[in-house]
């Protein structure tokens, strides 16, 4: 039996970040991981010999630079390389690309629509304005608008002022942006279907919503608000795969004297008299600490690892009804070489270096969602396909490649029951076939495929329904509503128990902000000096 100052359940990136800041404050911390590898959904796994698979999350931009810098992640092996560009393959044999260079990007949009090429200026300005607004609140705790505590009121005023600074006209635009659908939002800027389609993907990645669902414009931000070295909206590859992020965070934990233990799955959170005592592991071992932080999603934390009687009735009900829906699947593919894409010109910089999508109309995007609503995978899915090995030489043997296909939509269950193996094959096939339509040699290059339905993700790393954000990013589950109204400040309704996963503000993506924010609140409660860095501020 061991005693710690704090136990963090789950060595995902948020758990590790949380543990690192607690350890930095001098606490004796252990971070427990059920699997025999750490990282949760930010991992690099050798699932095929000599290949590293970023088999869950696959790109990096949201990771807060404040955390990166403060925990000196570069010293623990993290290196993020920006990559640019994307391409949308079209049914008519053409393509629509976006390039890193603004002039090339403009020229390419203009090839499809002159209007849209120029409209892009205003689109990116307006969207950037929204990003700037939200970015300032990523490393802050969401204030409770129903509270009269000075801390909440101060934060509310800050929030209010930030909005007021926008001025009247932009305030209205913000109000609309936060509530409208990504399709309607794009309609206000662009005319060409393929252009809108290309931008719409970011509005639905990881959600159980379609491009026409109100609220999806906001989801754009969750894909735009990141940055690589101050270039907001740019994405990057973590050298060595996403596991490098987790490994570097674990390195930071250990450097501050914390412990990271794998193969230590938590069975139960021990509560006595409304106070957390520690955790009981699956192997029967008990570990005690006055502070327990859960990096698991809220459903898993409160419904699986706790007794209903230890929780307030309303809270329990809200957690039960918390929307955390499996809507995305993943295919990880080892390739014998770089596939060819006949639609692209020979030697195009896009090959391998761009996000590839094989869908070209808003109608197809929405139809993909209708399949999901019917309880099945999209027969004509939206795939976000990257080949990180084209940029990162450490992923595969030279000349070989690793392809990551994020697939939207893919339900946690088929029509309310478990997936059969035929259905898994059907899902795999619909993805591979769609890509093959644009790459004739693709199938022949495949050495190994790992298919991950939401159910697989849940089974392996524990996220309920494999939801990449640990909960839908809808208005009723954002900011002070996340995860549960009244419990949006990382504290669970049991003394000493905290939440630090993506179910909490500001939500999912490999951001590490929830972990850091939770650490700040814990240290506040323990009356210890805050070790969590402040927002850089965008000025």
């Amino acid at each position: 039996m061991k005693k710690y100052d704090a136990i963090v359940i789950g060595a995902g990136h948020n758990g590790l970040a949380n543990a690192a800041f607690l350890a930095k404050a001098g606490l004796n911390v252990v971070c427990l991981e059920k699997n025999d590898y750490i990282g949760g959904a930010a991992v690099s796994r050798e699932l095929y010999k000599d290949w590293k698979y970023s088999n869950c999350s696959y790109v990096c931009s949201l990771l807060r630079p404040e955390i990166y810098r403060d925990l000196e992640l570069h010293k623990h092996g993290l290196q993020v390389t920006p990559y640019g560009g994307s391409v949308q393959f079209m049914e008519n044999g053409d393509y629509f690309a976006s390039y890193h260079d603004p002039e090339a990007a403009h020229r390419e949009i203009a090839r499809h629509s002159k209007h849209d090429a120029d409209a892009y200026t205003r689109y990116s300005t307006d969207t950037m304005r929204q990003c700037r607004l939200i970015r300032d609140f990523l490393l802050r705790t969401a204030p409770d608008p129903t509270s009269f505590k000075p801390k909440d009121i101060k934060e509310l005023i800050l929030l209010g002022n930030k909005f007021l600074e926008l001025g009247e006209d932009r305030l209205y635009e913000t109000l609309r942006f936060w509530t409208m659908s990504v399709a309607d939002y794009l309609d206000e800027y662009f005319e060409k279907d393929v252009v809108k389609t290309a931008f719409s993907g970011s509005g639905i990645i990881g959600t159980a919503l379609g491009i026409h669902s109100p609220g999806t414009a906001y989801v754009l931000l969750h894909h735009y608000m990141g940055d690589v070295d101050g270039n907001v909206g740019t994405w990057g590859f973590a050298r060595g795969g996403m596991g490098a992020v987790s490994d570097s965070l674990a390195g930071a934990v250990q450097a501050y004297g914390g412990e990271v233990r794998s193969e230590a799955g938590v069975d139960q959170i021990i509560v006595k008299h409304n106070r957390v005592k520690g955790v009981a592991l699956e192997n029967g071992e008990e570990i005690y600490a006055p502070v327990v932080v859960s990096n698991m999603d809220v459903k898993r934390t409160f419904l699986n690892c706790m007794d209903e009687k230890d929780l307030p009735e309303n809270f329990y009900k809200r957690v039960k009804n918390f929307k955390i829906r499996g809507s995305s699947g993943k295919l990880n593919i080892a390739l014998d070489g770089m596939p060819t894409f006949p639609a692209l010109p020979k030697g195009s910089e896009l090959i391998g270096n761009a996000d590839m999508h094989f869908i070209d109309s808003m109608e197809r995007m929405e139809l993909a969602y209708d399949d999901w609503k019917d309880g099945t995978w999209s027969k004509d899915p939206y795939i976000d396909c990257t080949i990180p090995s084209a940029v990162d030489p450490t992923m595969t043997p030279p000349g070989k490649h690793f392809m990551s296909c994020f697939v939207q939509y893919c339900p946690a269950q088929i029509e309310g029951r478990a997936w059969t193996s035929e259905e898994r094959d059907g899902f795999t096939k619909s993805v591979i076939d769609q890509i093959s339509n644009y790459s004739p040699d693709f199938k022949d290059l495949i050495l190994h495929v790992e298919t991950r339905t939401p159910q697989d993700i849940e089974d392996q790393i524990g996220i309920t329904e494999g939801n990449i954000f640990h909960g839908e990013l809808t208005m009723d589950q954002l900011l002070f509503n996340r995860p549960v109204p009244g419990y949006a400040q990382y504290r669970a309704p049991v003394n000493g128990l905290y939440m630090c996963g993506s179910s909490t503000h500001p939500g999912g993506g490999v951001m590490a902000a929830p972990g850091a924010n939770a650490a700040r609140e814990i240290l506040y409660d323990l009356k210890l000096k805050n070790t969590v860095p402040e927002n850089f501020g965008d000025d």
Partner: protein
């Protein structure tokens, strides 16, 4: 289908082969996707070509739109702040256009080519705004940037150079006038416009005839000191003329993220371009309100004492008390022709009235070491450089 390949590098204008031949410095930069020379052989000499003989600058990358249709005039009149009804065929208008909040989107020139046919020319691209503005008008807007090659021919001998090309009617061409001339089996458009504040012309032609035009022009200018020039020389000349550059002296509203960083025409000294007698134009209501309530900012032309260039300097209302910071410099240079230390800047109202004195904090470097001075500056009303030859019609053969 064969894969479409777009040029993902820099484009070259039709004059590029000639510019490349003359280029000794290999300093090119991006202008709207085109390679444009910063300087070709010597920045200083290129500048003096503008003021002393003739400088030729390739302005092909300027964004150009052709606006036609029965409502073309009404459309433009709603678009820009000045009254376009006063711009007759054969005339050119410098104009500014705003959004509904009265914030400047861009400035540019509008050429009334023929009755009901216009060309709008600007630095930035505005096709989306222009088409949105066309809702409810019977008008056609066509981008024609690549269809027209253009040269600015600027300087005191520019008239003589063109005269040598046997262009009839050049004598009568007034500032902001335009004329057409048949040459190389095509139509050459000549406008008496420019960005240097000096006597000068701009020539507009079919890109296929661009090289012919260049060669004829340089042949005609051989004895008049004609020189090709780069952006740096032009930029110096425009500051002396008090002309504004977007992204330096004002920000196009559509590209501005932060609230309060845009400017209204009244705030950048362009009130003379705003005609409130028109029934309706973009920004009218907001500008009327601003006029009644007062502007926040004022653009100032500064004559700064001493000779230390005031790039990026803060402006103060007093010499000693730094808390009275009232604005900053947006463009600055030493003027070789006026022998003045000049700058454009933006200050908060009520500061910066013509004749006022302000203080500019200048940092300058000499042999690695940085120094700081507070230099007194006077707000001036008129352009720093406004030679009589600029307006003379017919111009004298200098």
């Amino acid at each position: 289908m064969t894969p479409v390949k777009i040029n993902t590098g820099r484009l070259r204008t039709p004059f590029y082969p000639r510019l490349a031949e003359l280029d000794c410095l290999n300093t090119w930069h991006n202008w709207a996707g085109y390679s444009s020379p910063e300087a070709l052989y010597c920045e200083d000499m290129e500048y003096f070509a503008i003021r002393n003989s003739t400088g030729v600058f390739d302005i092909t990358p300027m964004t150009k739109y052709r606006i036609t249709g029965p409502d073309a005039l009404d459309y433009l009149n709603r678009l820009v702040t000045r009254d376009m009804r006063k711009i007759k065929p054969g005339r050119v208008a410098y104009a500014i256009w705003c959004d509904d909040q009265g914030q400047v989107i861009d400035d540019g020139t509008i050429f009334h080519l023929r009755e009901g046919e216009y060309r709008l020319c600007s630095q930035e691209r505005h096709f989306a705004w222009l088409t949105t503005a066309a809702i409810g008008f019977d008008v056609s807007i066509k981008e024609e940037t690549v269809e027209i090659a253009a040269l600015a021919v600027q300087g005191p001998t520019s008239y003589s150079v063109l005269k040598n090309m046997a262009i009839d009617g050049l004598d009568a061409l007034k500032p902001f006038g335009l004329m057409h001339h048949q040459i190389f089996d095509t139509e050459l458009m000549i406008s008496r416009t420019g960005f240097t504040g000096d006597l000068g012309y701009e020539l507009w032609i079919d890109p296929d005839k661009a090289i012919d035009l260049w060669d004829a022009l340089f042949e005609a200018g051989k004895l008049h000191g004609i020189k090709a020039i780069g952006t740096h020389a032009l930029d110096l000349a425009r500051k002396e003329a008090g002309y504004l550059a977007p992204f330096e002296d004002f920000l196009p509203a559509e590209t501005t993220v932060r609230t309060g960083r845009t400017r209204s025409p009244l705030e950048i000294g362009m009130e003379w371009l705003v005609d409130f007698n028109k029934d309706n134009f973009n920004g009218r209501r907001a500008l009327l309100k601003e006029k009644a309530e007062g502007s926040n900012w004022r653009l100032v032309k500064l004559d700064i004492e001493g000779n230390k260039t005031a790039d990026h300097s803060f402006i103060y209302s007093q010499e000693k008390n730094n808390s009275e910071e009232i604005g900053f410099i947006t463009s600055a240079t030493w003027s070789p022709i006026c022998k003045q230390n000049i700058a454009l800047g933006t200050v908060r109202t009520p500061y910066g009235k013509p004749g006022d004195n302000v203080w500019v904090e200048v940092y300058y470097q000499r042999e690695m070491h940085w120094n700081r001075v507070m230099a007194k500056a006077t707000v001036v009303d008129k352009p720093f450089w406004f030679p009589p030859r600029r307006g003379a019609t017919p111009p004298a053969p200098f």
